[in-house]
Symmetry: C2
Amino acid sequence: MINRLIEKIQKTNAPIVVGLDPMLKYVPEHIKKAAFAEFGETLEGAAEAIWQYNKGIVDAIYDLVPAVKPQIAMYEQFGIPGLVAFKKTVDYCKEKGLVVIGDVKRGDIGSTSEAYAVGHLGKVSVGSNAFYGLNEDFATVNPYLGSDGINPFIKVCKEEKKGIFVLVKTSNPSSGEFQDRLVDGRPLYEIVGEQVASWGAECMGDSYSYVGAVVGATYPEQGKVLRKIMPKTFILVPGYGAQGGKGADLVHFFNEDGLGAIINSSRGIIAAYQQEKYASFGEQGYADASRAAVIDMREDIAQALGK
Amino acid sequence: MINRLIEKIQKTNAPIVVGLDPMLKYVPEHIKKAAFAEFGETLEGAAEAIWQYNKGIVDAIYDLVPAVKPQIAMYEQFGIPGLVAFKKTVDYCKEKGLVVIGDVKRGDIGSTSEAYAVGHLGKVSVGSNAFYGLNEDFATVNPYLGSDGINPFIKVCKEEKKGIFVLVKTSNPSSGEFQDRLVDGRPLYEIVGEQVASWGAECMGDSYSYVGAVVGATYPEQGKVLRKIMPKTFILVPGYGAQGGKGADLVHFFNEDGLGAIINSSRGIIAAYQQEKYASFGEQGYADASRAAVIDMREDIAQALGK
């Protein structure tokens, strides 16, 4: 799957992943109205609204980008109906040929981590049958529990040719509270980064590993160091746009081959129509506004990379 | 909810939480047969089997213990039908008067962590209505992202009088990979423990905080240190039984008031009938075997605590 992701990045010339993190306040009134008319102001109504909203965006951008990253929390908040909308979104994006990165930040130990790996990336056995559960292509994973938490994911990734992105240095302001603590004079995120490179060495695609890393765009200097520590690791970079990361901050997340990173933008794209810059699209044109925002982001990154 | 948990521990004289972590290999044949007859060897069939299995156990133990801890990964592996079984299990346990600790190990940042907090502990707004999503009483939370990840949970805990248990030192063999790294000469888990105590200080119940910690029974020495660092923090202790933790290891997780810790056992109780000790109950008597295992565990802990 890492090979396919890279191929699609090269084809679209867009190292961009669109974060499908719907909140009801982003969803245009006409979509909410139709959903609530059918299902009431209920969890089912909310789930229908975010699904229709997602579908409109995906239809408008699927030819421009290689991948999407639905954030499962935004669906989980609506309980079971929300999770059904998550699954519909994953399936629809795959039908459209997009690589789907499940932003699930799961992490546990032993058989429990295996259950998460199976549920999100692999197949579960039921009697003599086997079924995919949520069936994303990649999942994000939390490293705090160590190798016992990661190895079950790696096992499933090998079987399914899928991948993970392990949290190394997250984009948020307080990420340093633990991640920056000095261990033998070096910040913890470097130690985690080394471990990610080591986990990744055992499951290589053609040029990059199936085990990737998450490093926030808001920490460009740290990104530069981590790029060197993990040369064969693909980096998923959140924090561009709404969180403050700029095109120029991204340069050092990439390798000299022009690859090695994929930049996420969520509300900057999916709620573009709410920004002044794209306001002329209006609520009805929200999906076209998202398309325009993707094109601008592609340009911003290309300029930064001197392409 | 921490007050209620403590009250129930005192009433049952059992600082025990039963981990409802069903795997199909634990489920007796007669339950699987009935579920597969109705739904086929499908995700729905698996979900029905684990739900019926859980129900039998809960009916057999609900009067003996204060709390249960369903591990969501074991349900998530069966996709949406599995998550429906999780929700049914949570609801049923609450009907039976049990405190429900959702072992979900979620953790993200800002609005995303808020969505998890709302989805698991709080209410989400839809138009002019508000709904509980999964509605557990407590959730386990991963601290790797720092305060940005934890504060949204604390906010919801305050509103709902619910609680969280933050991972500090997990029970697995490789937990030391990052958690034991020395920061200024002290292991990272101590730094996290201090932070947990500090987060907890702002939302106190009568004698303990709504913000608890997870510390594995397999690390009794570390538990002793953490008990002192976090005097007002309730500790959820996994790793007893199947993972190797013994009654005698548990003493230092408790405070002098005899409180401060709740010990989890999962397969040691829910799959007791598969152990030689409880084999005489047979598959048909699996729930009674679980009851017997709870009684033995209560005795083991009471002896260790010199009660």
